[in-house]
């Protein structure tokens, strides 16, 4: 029921994503038919040429779809974000079933009929079109059916590269830990898969009835294809050729989605630009690639992440030096670092509020004297990274009762609150810190690099739209750590809509803006 209410409330968005999903699958399946059937015919006729092709299609099929997106993203021309790379990946997955069933269908044609056709004076081409293809059609349609159903499923992954589709709800729901949002993507995707399966099964049945209806099926297929191409072209026209468009991106966790919304809405409020959202991009690498490729114009990055993960610099803990270094390196890549938003999303060494008050703990140094009686819990990555636990324990001389427990990040706050552990490394802006009454200890020795949140934008876009620059600069220093925690909490713990949370924040910010 909550699912139906969610879909009702997000009707326009849902229909848009559903259409995107259908377009992704339709366009890629159509292209896979256009490539796969001729390849299958070739493979059936020339096994020596065909065997390696079928083998290759097999290999492609074994590559996990996320890995495939990873391979293709950095490539010029095909790479980059959005529908292009998603359709390419979907085509690659759709090829195998179509090629295979085409080969099987052509090879399965009764030899007598081929002999009859040949003896009647058909050229190989006439034999193919008049005898082999019509008779192989039910088999080919069965392959198309498999390909389309796989496509509906794989297309949900396309949201990771900003191609949209129903996967957007799944990713959004996963990062918000909200089952309703996950289901809003998963259930319609499953229903769509069933509908596609059923529709094509009916087509297959009517074809293997071997009436003349293969002609009408071909006509129907051509119509659908034309419709898909038309819709894709229309999408292209309305989507890309509008001139005053600015694209806002974000990575794929709650805070990023809220910030993406916040920036998008700020641009909508303060400029007359059309804003496109490409939120939920699958990680730092993809977001950075997207920005440099011009697939997005702006997103929020963290200075420390840019310094170490993007520019691969050695760890530097002085905030001003990091900011300057990153600014220069971004500038060289045609990217402008805008003024920081005001809060930092660093690693947070957390203890329970009652412990902190009772023992008067304020800094990590304070905790170091108590820690030999404590149990610690850290995420897997934090335990391993040189700039994680090993360096931290060296810097502060931290010792614990036993070796720290490795825990999943999502469980770490609750584990602390429920006294399973006494000290954890979490996320400074997590909404759960206030929800569980936890206290963040001050990094008084400046062990952690700074992670100031800064909008990064393509310099070309800022030059073109000065109003956008002004709107983004107006956010400088306006979001405090508490603001961010509150917004994260509203989405993560209270299940509010990120867009609504961002809207409410901007609304209470507006009066404070200098007139």
């Amino acid at each position: 029921m909550t699912l139906l209410r969610f879909l009702g409330e997000h009707r326009a968005e849902f229909l848009g994503l559903l259409l995107q999903h259908i377009l992704l699958v339709g366009a890629s399946t159509a292209a896979a038919i256009a490539i796969g059937v001729p390849v299958g015919v070739l493979a059936a006729r020339r096994p020596r040429v065909g065997a390696p092709i079928v083998w290759l299609a097999n290999v492609v099929q074994t590559i996990p779809s996320l890995a495939m997106f990873g391979f293709l993203l950095p490539l010029p021309l095909v790479g980059g974000l959005g529908a292009r790379v998603a359709i390419l990946v979907l085509i690659l997955y759709a090829l195998l079933p179509i090629v295979r069933t085409t080969v099987a269908g052509i090879r399965g044609v009764d030899g007598t009929l081929v002999e009859a056709g040949t003896a009647m004076g058909m050229t190989p081409r006439q034999l193919l079109w008049q005898v082999e293809l019509p008779l192989a059609l039910p088999s080919i349609v069965a392959g198309i059916r498999v390909a389309a159903v796989i496509g509906v499923g794989t297309a949900t992954i396309a949201a990771a590269v900003g191609a949209g589709g129903l996967g957007e709800y799944i990713f959004r729901g996963l990062s918000m830990v909200d089952p309703t949002v996950i289901l809003a993507g998963a259930v319609p995707a499953a229903l769509l898969a069933l509908a596609v399966d059923g529709g094509l099964l009916a087509a297959e049945r009517s074809l293997s009835g071997r009436r003349r209806s293969w002609r009408s099926a071909a006509v129907l297929g051509a119509l659908v294809l034309a419709g898909v191409i038309g819709a894709a072209a229309w999408n292209n026209v309305t989507g890309d050729s509008r001139h005053a468009v600015i694209r806002v991106g974000s990575k794929n966790f709650t805070e990023q989605i809220i910030l993406g919304e916040l920036i998008a809405q700020q641009l909508e409020r303060s400029t007359d630009l059309t804003v496109e959202r490409r939120l939920n991009l699958g990680g730092t690498f993809i977001a950075d690639r997207a920005l440099r490729a011009g697939d997005i114009d702006v997103y929020v990055e963290y200075t420390g992440t840019a310094d170490t993960a993007i520019f691969k610099n050695a760890v530097e803990t002085d905030p001003a030096r990091v900011l300057e270094r990153v600014r220069q390196q971004y500038a060289a890549a045609g990217v402008t670092l805008l003024p920081p938003l005001g809060f930092e999303n660093t690693f947070a060494i957390l203890v329970r509020g009652d412990d902190a008050r009772k023992l008067g703990l304020q800094t990590i140094d304070d905790a170091a004297s108590r820690s030999p009686q404590w149990q610690a819990g850290f995420g897997y990555e934090f335990l391993q990274r040189a700039d994680g636990y090993p360096g931290l324990s060296r810097t502060y001389g931290l010792r614990f009762l036993a070796a720290p427990k490795a825990m999943d990040l999502s469980l770490i706050y609750r584990a602390l609150a429920q006294r399973q552990v006494d000290l954890v490394a979490g996320d400074a802006t997590s909404g759960l810190i206030s929800a569980y009454d936890l206290v963040m200890l001050k990094d008084n020795r400046h062990y952690f690099p700074p992670y100031d949140a800064v909008p990064v934008a393509r310099s070309a876009a800022l030059l073109r739209y000065p109003a956008a620059r002004a709107a983004l600069e107006a956010l400088a220093g306006r979001i405090t750590m508490d603001d961010m925690r509150r917004m994260n909490r509203a989405v993560d713990a209270e299940r509010q809509d990120p867009a609504a949370v961002a809207r409410a924040f901007l609304a209470q910010l507006a009066p404070k803006r200098p007139a």
Binding site: L113, E115, G117, A119, G121, M122, W214
Partner: protein, 262 residues
Amino acid sequence: MYRCDTVALMTGPAAAIQMRGVHVTRGAAGEVLRGLDLDVAAGETLALVGRSGAGKSTLLKLVNGLIVPASGTVVVEGRDTRKWNPFELRRRIGYVLQDVGLFPHMTVAANIGVVPRLLGWDAARIDARVVEMLRLVGLAPETYAERPAQELSGGQRQRVGVARALAADPPILLMDEPFGALDPVTRAELHREFRRIQSAIRKTVMIVTHDMAEAFALASRVGVLDEGVIAQIAPPRELARTTDPRVRPLLEPLLESHALLS
């Protein structure tokens, strides 16, 4: 334009098909034909009889260029099959297969119209020809034309197969065990039909069969294929009197049944 009759006249009635010193080797089967000579006169019905594997079907495929001889020549209508455009040659030769080979995804009318369509006839001419052909083979056009080919009985399929082979009015008709899969009653009926049709259209016909009775019933001349050559070739009456040990065994069943009846 399609002008088979003119060509047939130009080459003369004696030489519709002419084979000289034909050798054919087929994969595992080894040498199937060993220096075979054969003349088929225009307008005659020649039946070729022989044991299974004697090379009967191979002989037919030489005529329409599905097989090219390793050595020797096959001349059809005055031209070596190696020099014919194979597609043009085949469209001028009707072909009826043992398993008929009707296209299951087409109607009866579409099956009959295959070769005329390949030849680029216009739709009206094809339609008229389909009706004519269905009448010729004794099937009511209004009942059968639009039926899917796969819904027909065995006998009806064979009739459609003959209609399809004759649709483009080819000067030559090749028939590979055309009535082999039918029950004796239907077969006898189709034999009568075939004789009626042949007396009306006078094609050069080569029929391959392993059944001497069928050969006697249909053909003006019967050839016996043995060890890759023609052992004997003669009108049925003459052939029945032969003492050739390669031919006698094939005649025995026929002569026995005759003896029983008389």
